[in-house]
Amino acid sequence: MEIPKQLIPLEDTPGEFVINVGPQHPSTHGVLHLRIKLDGEKILEIEPHLGYIHRGIEKISESLGYRQSIYLTSRMDYLSAHMNNQACSLLVEKGLQIEVPDRAKAIRILMVELQRLASHQLWWGSAGLDMGAVSPFFFAFREREQILEIFEETCGTRLTMNYITPGGVMNDLHPDFVKKVKALIKQFKVNIHEYDKLLTGNIIFQKRTQNVGFLPRDLAISLGASGPVARASGISCDIRKLHPYDGYEKLDFSEIVMDKGDSFTRYLVRIEEMKQSMHIIDQLIDNIPEGDYRARVKGIIRLPEGEYYQRVETARGELGVFVVSDGNKTPYRIKYRTPNFSNLGALQYIAKDSKIGDLVAIMATLDLIIPDIDR
């Protein structure tokens, strides 16, 4: 085993030193370990070290059935648990060629968009928190709590849903669902202005994020960035538009693409995405088709031999599920191409030559979820 190349404190260069940010650090949102070489306040090099919550989801899945593997995916990006489940379910449905009932599709989109809202709300709160504004965190949780309550009523859990299953969804909507979602959207359309008042329009916040952490378009493509991070750099990469699934093609919404590529643009993209999510929910909430909420799928799923790839748009970007099946009831190889893993790659490029304070702002707007990186 050759010793891996690492940053070594340069004894002969005065003023440069290595500092560890994470795994136990308030701004890493989990246990990400960054070794940072500093010159005073300036960052010279960043080296990410992962694996503090590597649970071997891909390896475990090789010994679990398809149904059982899906519940593990809720624990990857726990803020987009619905999307992760949906990706696996779509893949199974593609392999087995199951037609999902319309009602199930509508429920899926509603849930997924609510999840996206909740995820972006939490991101907004923690982005503020990372920059030292504590209050936004609580304002964000006020709205997120309502969404989680809606989830709780229908899905039975608040975070790790396991609600979207192959063939449809696990159980039917709660009778109060429509009413509560409508109230929520109505409320949130008012409350989103508070977001502008507290952070978007705030001069300190703007100065902290504007012209910080530039991710040029070419670099973003080369790094395989996706989601709001890539869209802020001017790349159209919304899977919902490019490879529509579950009836996104019938819905009217626009992909938010901005091209400045700094932290503030990433922030704006997410804020606008929240509005788009609300727009999607508005279209669907009154038109949930009647019918079955689930197609019949066998208890033990065996995918035909072959390779499958399914991608969905989670709150953080493109989640790809790659499955090699040998016809057994367990996947031969399953690979999750998670959005955060690729977005993390951008960190060491864009945070270079900025300050420690900027690093926090950049990490906040990259919106990294560490379990999703480690899997």
């Binding site: 679990l64 209050s135 006020r142 309550e149 039975g156 790790t160 396991n162 696990m170 329009g201 705030n202």
Partner: protein, 160 residues
């Protein structure tokens, strides 16, 4: 001159943006009715836990202390974590047939991830998720629960 104007207008707009934020926080400070905090153990009586909330697995017993579990072990096989252990005893029925009867339905709450796949898998609908949530105990062993009540037996479907 233009630079000077920009200098002062930037100061003005900065103050304005800060003031909007301060006004918002002051609004909430001066309106205590907007407070969302719940005083948890005190409000236990009014606490709303949805019926569907997945708290723990229970074996459904009816008033005659009968349950529906035929010890087919589908749930045990479906469970991703090995939360469920079912032991059965083989008993001879009156007409001489051998029949598996549930002996112990062991449920390890500490290992459960509340994915509810056992509920989905159960062909008899003998188990369900209950919306209880205060599970904390002092010893981890207490989380391993035996779900079939003492003396309970299989629901006789023939009666109906």
């Amino acid at each position: 001159m233009k630079a000077l104007f920009r200098y002062f207008s930037s100061i003005f707009s900065a103050f304005k943006s800060l003031w909007t934020g301060m006004r918002l926080t002051f609004y909430y400070l001066s309106h205590p009715k907007t407070i969302l905090t719940q005083q948890y153990p005190e409000n236990r009586k009014t606490l709303y836990i949805p019926e569907a909330f997945k708290g723990e697995v229970v074996l459904i017993h009816d008033e005659n202390n009968e349950h529906g579990c035929t010890a087919c072990r589908m749930c045990e096989m479906t469970c991703p974590n090995g939360t469920i252990k079912i032991t059965s005893i083989t008993e001879e029925t009156e007409d001489g047939k051998k029949k598996k009867i549930l002996d112990e339905w062991i449920y390890n709450l500490g290992m459960c991830t509340f994915c509810a796949q056992c509920i989905e898998a159960c062909p008899q609908n003998a188990i369900k998720m209950q919306n209880t949530f205060e599970h904390s105990v002092y010893d981890r062993k207490e989380l391993i629960k035996k779900l079939n009540h003492p003396g309970s037996k299989l629901k006789s479907t023939k009666k109906i």
